[in-house]
């Protein structure tokens, strides 16, 4: 079955050399190689003047309300799972504790497979179907994988997930329950990533890797579109995002810029990008002004433990464009943020999910963010994804005998 082209997409453009390509099934720039990430281009004038536009009068309460700004054929049936349009919470007790006037949490752990990655995967499975694939693959042990497995199950695609040898059992379970074929590679994550690419070419599978697939980051962009729409009467000074491979903050930045282009908001909040101290190659490149140098990774926040981030240029471009900053946080600061967002915000996030909250806390202490400013932190994943780390953040249970006297003795 042939689907018509996405309505407002005009092509792809290399983030390094600006060479343009048609919006077809290709990955990186021919001239710049694997580093030449392609960015989807739109005709914003046409979107602005579209008489049938639904962007200002949307019907759906998920991220497909922005379909005109997504690279998906208008005739393709959408996945039934509700992705995006996640709630934004005003959390005054947490704000007061960390010393900021106004603080909001956007809980992306409430997506269908409980992470931000569903935004990208939902676009990925649509592109696979549009391009005529029946199978889709990625290399990951984390949220990208479980998200791809869930969205593939929802639309009836067969999914193949390549995981490195040290992948934890609980995360494999979520993949298997959705019916994914899980290939455990006797090697490192890089080897799994490369093998996935080779297998996609060999077997004719669609490659979901959000590092190199130009369409995936468009799904991530919807969080930025939503923040602009949900907060347009109360736009925060800062939007705070944890940073791993750079796609998430790059996508959110793009979404916010688009909403400014379309007149929803008249300024773009400053982006605060937060990396773990044990995995901070983008932070280093941002402040050195030089090309990225891959690093080792050593952090509890596995979803942002990326030593060779593929989308670092996009991340840095967007943070600069917003007049933003970057910061790093220790594992201890992440564990403290996990406690604080749960106890004072009512949101239980995984380590990478709350790293943004830790970064904001530190940025306030360092004077990067001022106490009289306002901020929105994106919580990117649910704490149930990594209960082992959460255990490190909690206190102990009190053991009592089954009588009141024993309880009284504890207080």
């Amino acid at each position: 079955m042939k689907y018509p082209q996405p309505q407002f997409v005009t092509g792809l453009k290399c983030l390094i050399c600006s060479r343009e390509y048609p919006a077809d099934n290709r990955f990186t720039c021919t001239d710049c190689g694997i580093q030449g990430i392609l960015d989807v281009q739109y005709d914003y004038d046409a979107i602005r003047s579209n008489p049938k536009s639904e962007i200002r009068n949307p019907k759906s309460f998920d991220h497909w309300r922005y379909r005109e700004l997504l690279p998906v054929s208008p005739e393709l049936p959408l996945p039934h799972l509700h992705v995006g349009w996640t709630p934004v919470y005003d959390v005054p007790r947490l704000a007061k504790h960390i010393g900021i006037t106004k603080l909001f949490l956007k809980d992306d752990g409430r997506n269908p497979t409980n992470s931000f990655k569903d935004r990208a995967s939902s676009v990925g499975v649509m592109k696979a179907i549009e391009f005529g694939f029946n199978e889709i693959a990625c290399a990951s042990t984390g949220n990208a994988a479980s998200s791809l497995a869930g969205l593939s199950a929802a639309v009836g695609l067969k999914s193949y997930i390549f995981v490195p040898k040290r992948a934890p059992e609980p995360k494999l379970t979520q993949l298997l329950i959705f019916g994914a074929t899980v290939l455990r590679v006797n090697g490192t994550y890089e080897q799994a990533f490369d093998l996935c690419g080779e297998a996609c070419e060999k077997f004719g599978w669609y490659n979901r890797s959000s590092g190199i697939n130009p369409y995936l980051v468009e799904g991530k962009k919807t969080a930025g579109l939503e923040i602009a729409e949900q907060m347009k009467d109360n736009l925060p000074d800062w939007v705070v995002v944890s940073v791993g491979d750079g796609c998430t903050i790059g996508g959110i930045g793009k979404g916010l810029q688009e909403m400014k282009k379309l007149g929803f908001i008249d300024r773009v909040p400053k982006l605060l990008g937060v990396q773990a101290e044990g995995a901070k190659p983008i932070y280093n490149a941002f402040y050195s002004g030089k090309d990225l140098i891959p690093s080792d990774t050593n952090t509890i926040a596995d979803s942002i433990a990326v030593g060779t981030p593929r989308n670092w240029r996009r991340a840095i471009q967007q943070v600069r464009l917003s007049q933003g900053e970057m910061i790093t946080v220790s594992d201890e600061e992440i564990l403290e943020a996990m406690r604080l967002t749960a106890r004072l915000g009512g949101v239980f996030g995984e380590p990478a999910g709350v790293a943004g909250a830790a970064g904001l806390h530190k940025a306030l202490q360092k004077g990067i963010v001022k106490p009289n400013e306002s901020a929105l932190v994106v919580i990117t994943g649910n704490g149930l994804k990594d209960i082992q780390s959460a255990k490190r953040a909690t206190g102990e249970v009190l053991n009592v005998e089954p009588n009141l006297k024993s309880v009284e003795e504890k207080f």
Copy 2:
């Protein structure tokens, strides 16, 4: 601080002897004792003729859109967490596989702490504040506990959770991260339950136990209200719910009946109540017509493993009123349902969460539900809550070497 009474509540009424009480801070009927569960009464005529009614023109996309039908003071600030208004998915591939014309899943695993119980806890914390309590307690190892811990954190109440000795560590972690004080009782669940009640009296804590607290089930009712509103143009023949202590199906039935009273729907779907074969005292009482006999429990579906259900009368009354039926399912059938709802419906539920789907499958095989009928299954909890059980439902990973030849050999 004093809050005005809930606007449309007229009192409490015993489900056994019909004796009426004012809607104050009391639990069960004076005459009937612990068995005398009280039901909240409303003035439906006043709701129907309320000129300021928001029920037909709601502003909030969570379950507080039904505030007029909830026992909560109109002036009380609501918790910021978005509870309820969970998505309903049309799942034709799953429908076809189990042999029914039309099938919908309502995914209540997407609530803030990932289970249906948030509906009850959100009302519980409101009543605690309304009655002037600063502390709230319950006895549970499961979703009621994590839900209470999360909602208490959100509104700033201190929570105390009594758990039996054999409570699993991962579930304790979710409680501790939200800042609950967790008291592990060296004894059984029944002992923890009794001790919780005593401690509430002694220390002046509000008792959230949904088995005996008349207000909690009102929160559960909102799922029924939502089903009526979301499905009013496509009302299913059956609504399928897993049954533990009886509050959930009792609440959903009450919600559906109320929406019929208010004219949203012109009939109430038949309720299909599903118990585990290893914990089926309500099923037994339903078909024997006699009083409930407590049973042992032995099932993978821990959230419905209730040997002494406190709300069995309400459950049976509502199933009868709807002309419904009950059925039991084995652990193997539950594990199969876990695979099917994930792979063909894109929804990963915990064992008790998908027990309804297992029951519908079996009811179709037995001819209780007809292939040309339609059904909606409530998925009551997210599969990440119990990854150990999910492991029992999945297949194995494929081990490969980091080269294409090794992958090719697997297919």
